[in-house]
């Protein structure tokens, strides 16, 4: 399923690997996912091709970004890591100072020719840097290194949470924690951290969260308490899911989505569109596809030849799973509505570019392996 190790060995590389530095298995799975995503988007947009075409162009750009990233060798990437991190951090501060405000949150940085979310870049820069830092020492990391890594993680997380963008903040922090986890952070510490997070969470609830974020968490536990406000999303999306049944209502036949009952159906709630029209079967197949991609990413991490690559590859793959889990958990009413798109399916460009850039890194890691690593 994940490919014969020998087939992927540096000795027997396909033309795709040798010249384009791309991984065939990952590429196929991503293209399939992209195709599925466009198909569902077509339905979510009631058959308006214009928006689907826009998304297709974004995909082309994002795949371009992936191709570019695949050409950069892990060694180069590693050298760049702290600089990228530093630059992104400065941009986050810049956003705080004079960023563009949209939808009540200050996330965007206008560079004149393009509007840009530094927090998205941080999703890559943070795991890169933590991996870079930890790979300089012997694994598993000792306590002072863990502390420094935590600082590296929490500073940008705090900045992003302040924007406020809780979803991205969680994802960025998660990416960093996954590097620590892969580096062999002791279970004691992991458990200790989780225990420590509880009071932090309580403090966040009282002082660090905006009202709308608190409401979202509250309505998770009882969506019917506010059926027309923030609970409306969850009520309507569970109706969409539940009414889809095992086989779904059929492509383009979802009533919840096509009659506007489902809010944000092109973006965060697109999974509800898929589940309404294709039912449990469609949802399970999509989950299987995601699992294939994640498993391939972890396999690449397993095969990687240096510590930096291993940590980075595994962390990126696990973060990708968190995306999927948080989004579907949110749409199905298991998790609060935190604004995490369904990766590579939801409408929108920024996260897509970061995601495919990350997969470009994975491909680079896999295709730049040497016969005899130093």
């Amino acid at each position: 399923m994940l490919g014969d190790p020998a087939a992927g060995s540096p000795l027997r590389q396909s033309w795709l690997q040798r010249y384009l530095r791309l991984d065939g298995v990952l590429l196929s799975a991503l293209l399939l996912l992209t195709g599925v995503g466009l198909g569902i988007l077509y339905s979510a947009f009631d058959g308006h091709l214009l928006e689907v075409r826009k998304q297709l162009i974004r995909f082309v750009i994002a795949f371009g970004a992936m191709l570019v990233m695949a050409q950069i060798s892990p060694a180069t990437l590693r050298r760049w890591s702290p600089w990228v991190y530093g630059a992104t951090l400065i941009m986050l501060l810049a956003v705080m100072a004079f960023g563009h405000i949209g939808k009540g949150a200050q996330r965007w940085l206008d560079l004149g020719f393009v509007r840009f979310q530094p927090s998205e870049l941080m999703k890559l820069a943070l795991p890169m840097t933590v991996a870079w830092f930890l790979s300089r020492h012997e694994l598993p990391p000792r306590f002072p290194q863990v502390l420094i890594a935590l600082v590296l993680i929490l500073v940008p997380t705090a900045l992003i949470a302040e924007q406020p963008d809780l979803g991205t903040a969680i994802l960025v922090a998660t990416a960093g924690f996954f590097v620590l986890y892969m580096a062999g952070l002791r279970w004691r510490l992991i458990l200790g951290t989780i225990v420590a997070l509880i009071p932090i969470g309580v403090l966040m609830w009282h002082f660090g969260m905006h009202d709308y974020q608190r409401r979202r968490v509250l309505t998770l536990f009882d969506p019917h308490s506010d059926p027309l406000g923030s609970g409306y999303h969850i009520i309507q999306s569970t109706i969409a899911l539940g009414s889809g049944g095992v086989y779904g209502k059929g492509y383009l036949r979802g009533t919840q989505s096509h009659l506007d009952f489902l809010p944000e159906r092109h973006t965060d709630f697109i999974f509800a569109v898929l589940s309404e029209e294709f039912g449990l079967m469609g949802a399970a197949l999509l989950l299987l596809l995601y699992f294939l991609i994640i498993a391939r990413g972890l396999y690449i991490g397993l095969c990687a030849q240096d510590t930096y690559s291993r940590l980075l590859a595994c962390s990126l793959s696990l973060t990708f799973f968190v995306y999927v889990f948080v989004n579907i958990g949110m749409v199905s009413g298991l998790l609060p509505v935190v604004g995490v798109p369904l990766p590579l399916v939801s409408y929108g460009g920024t996260s897509m570019v970061t995601l495919l850039a990350a997969f470009g890194m994975l491909m680079s890691i896999h295709t730049h392996r040497k016969l005899w690593p130093s």
Binding site: P5, A6, S9, L11, L139, P140, Y181, M182, G184, L228, Q236, T238, I239, A240, L241, G242, S243, G244, G245, V246, T255, Q256, L259, D260, F261, S275, G279, L280, A283, A284, L287, F291, I294, A295, L298, G301, L302, C303, Q305, T307, R310, C314, L318, F321, F325, I328, G329, S332, G333, L334, W372, P373
Partner: protein
């Protein structure tokens, strides 16, 4: 194989990594398992529940009110029409905060207090997906303003609809009546009758007159639309439609032209005119004046106008023809005469001397004749023609109240005529039994005396007088006056006649020739009697009888002098007539309130009505 050797020197790190990846994969599988479990719960376990919710989300049932049937006169002239108008409706379930929406709405269009009150009254009793009317008869400007601001008001809609309209305004408004918005009482009544489902979506209901009486014919059957709607409540498509069945059209026996002529003939007198075809009982004209504009009532009359109607001393909302109770006065004399002949208390040619007054034995009260000094000797024919009071005082005494009252009941006095209008009054036909029942008092002879000239307790509605006249014209065959002539399906030009309603028992007269005496006496009223002035240049034969009803009783030593009395105390002028005598086609009763006398005011009015009838008939014949 090769790879393993490559990383052999990092054994520990690889073991750690493999270990962590393994744990991660397990974690991922658990996560996916949780998601699948959740999906299984939603999509399999609770599927039915959510499928129902989804269906409820999108499918709504919308009632389509039927178009109300139209009302025509006997010649196809439209009396009640449906014309397009716009109204504003609010669907509660699509509005988050109704009060807030109403407040914002008032920045755009004006909502009156009654609009708001009606809305709030309807709100709790309406289903949440049913649009509730907020304002009727929107102006073009209001429609435009609402259209521009529509996005700000989800749940508000402008509906084009048909509104009841009475093109002739005040004409025959007491017959046609009007529709009005369904009130709380109407709803209770409909619920009690189990008809409320048929009125879903219907905003108006017949309140008065024909509109009220024939509500069931005019209303029709409600239709339904199963519609698919989106999240903001807009209809996306119709899934199923059960078309409403429009109400049927009504063809009245009323002749609008005759009606108009009759209303005009009454000039500025308050009063009533009823014209009946004695052959069928069809009501040809039914006038009560003053009248009102029914169009004002359709979408709620404003308070000022309503109070003006209510406080008008002429009482325009009062249906005098149906509910006005007047002493029939001298108009009853031919009937009394007939009773006397039937009961053989007097012969047709037997005469009585009239000295100008009548007294009962041992009582010094003088029952005066209208003519000072008296009429001298006269028989029945002359007594009716001259309207001698003394003759009928005497005859009434000879008859006695019991026979008199029983005989009069055959003409329909004291009983509802059975016309197809609600709220008919019965008047009073005095009798021993009636007096005991209502007043718990014995009958006195003196009361019989004045009953002989249609005064005293005796009260009759103009409709009853017309019915009695028709019965006389028919020589005893009573007919039930009715307004509904035919019913037709909408769009069909073939009205189906309504079966005649059975008439009452004929007047039992032992010899049919007695009718000739009574009718001959009424003919003489026109020819040489009290109404001889209306008999001039008559192109057809006509029988009639004048009557003058006292509004204020005149004391023994007083004389009636119109010039010294306020107009509202002037006598009522009455006249009954039918024509042509040989084959009667029209029977008319006229009451001109405070008209002074039957001969001076009421008789010429009746003549105008019958003239118009004859002219129309001649025009139709050509």
């Amino acid at each position: 194989m090769q790879r393993r050797t490559v990383i052999k020197d990092r054994n520990a790190e690889t073991r750690l990594l493999t270990n962590r990846i393994l744990v991660a994969v397990i974690g991922i599988l658990v996560g996916i398992g949780v998601l699948l479990g959740r999906l299984f719960y939603l999509q399999v376990v609770s599927h039915q529940h959510f499928a129902t919710l989804s269906q409820e989300n999108r499918v709504k049932l919308v009632a389509i009110p039927p178009n109300r049937g139209l009302i025509y006169d006997r010649n196809g002239i439209l009396l009640a029409d449906n014309r397009p108008s716009f109204r504003l409706v609010l669907t509660p379930e699509d509005v988050n905060d109704i009060e807030e929406t109403l407040a914002r709405l008032q920045e755009i269009i004006e909502l009156s207090e009654s609009d708001l009150n009606r809305f709030r009254e309807l709100l709790p009793r309406s289903r949440r997906f049913e649009p509730i009317p907020l304002k009727f008869k929107l102006t073009e400007e209001e429609v435009a303003r609402l259209a521009v601001n529509r996005h700000r008001f989800p749940g508000l809609d402008v509906r084009a609809e048909l509104t009841r309209s009475y093109p002739w305004g005040e004409l025959a408004s007491h017959v046609i009546g009007y529709v009005g918005r369904i009130s709380a009482q109407d709803l209770q009544r409909l619920e009690a009758q189990g008809k409320e489902a048929n009125y879903r979506g219907t905003s108006h209901i017949g309140k008065l007159g024909i509109e009220h009486y024939y509500e069931d014919i005019l209303h029709g059957q409600v239709g339904y639309e199963k519609v698919e709607t989106n999240a903001v409540g807009r209809t996306i498509r119709v899934l199923e439609r059960i078309a409403p069945v429009p109400g049927r059209d009504i063809h009245l026996s009323l002749d609008a032209r005759l009606q108009a002529a009759a209303e005009a003939a009454l000039e500025d007198y308050n009063g009533a005119i009823v014209a009946i075809d004695p052959r069928s009982g069809e009501v040809l004209a039914f006038v009560s004046r003053p009248t009102f504009d029914p169009n004002l009532f359709v979408n709620g009359i404003d308070l000022a106008t309503y109070q003006a109607y209510q406080n008008d001393p002429n009482r325009p909302l009062y249906n005098r023809a149906l509910r006005g109770e007047y002493p029939p006065a001298s108009t009853v004399k031919p009937f009394i005469g007939l009773a006397a002949l039937h009961h053989k208390v007097i012969g047709a040619n037997e005469s009585i001397y009239c000295p100008g007054h009548f007294t009962l034995p041992n009582v010094d009260h003088r029952y005066r004749d209208w003519k000072r000094g008296g009429h001298g000797r006269l028989n029945l024919n002359e007594a009716v023609a001259q309207s001698c009071d003394v003759y009928f005082y005497d005859v009434a005494m000879r008859l006695g109240i019991d026979d008199l009252s029983a005989f009069m009941s055959y003409f329909g006095f004291g009983a509802p005529t059975g016309i197809d209008l609600n709220g008919e009054r019965t008047g009073i036909l005095p009798s021993r039994e009636w007096k005991r029942r209502t007043r718990n008092q014995p009958w006195y002879h003196g009361e019989t005396v004045i009953t002989g000239i249609g005064q005293g307790f005796w009260l009759a509605t103009p409709l009853q007088m017309a019915q009695a006249t028709a019965t006389m014209a028919n020589r005893g065959q009573r007919v039930v006056p009715h307004l509904l002539r035919a019913v037709s399906e909408p769009g069909s030009d073939r009205p189906v006649p309504v079966p005649r309603r059975t008439s009452g028992e004929p007047v039992p007269v032992h010899d049919a020739k007695l009718w000739d005496h009574a009718i001959e006496s009424m003919k003489n009223v026109i020819r040489i009697g009290t109404a001889r002035r209306v008999g001039i240049d008559l192109s057809y034969s006509m029988a009639g009888k004048t009557g003058t009803a006292q509004v204020r009783s005149i004391a023994q030593n007083e004389r009636y002098d119109a010039s010294k009395l306020e107009r509202r105390f002037h006598d009522h002028g009455l006249f009954i007539a039918f024509a042509p005598i040989e084959a009667p086609e029209i029977a008319v009763a006229v009451v001109a309130e405070n008209g002074g006398s039957g001969s001076g005011v009421a008789a010429p009015i009746a003549r105008k009505v019958i003239d118009t009838y004859m002219e129309n008939k001649a025009r139709h014949a050509r």
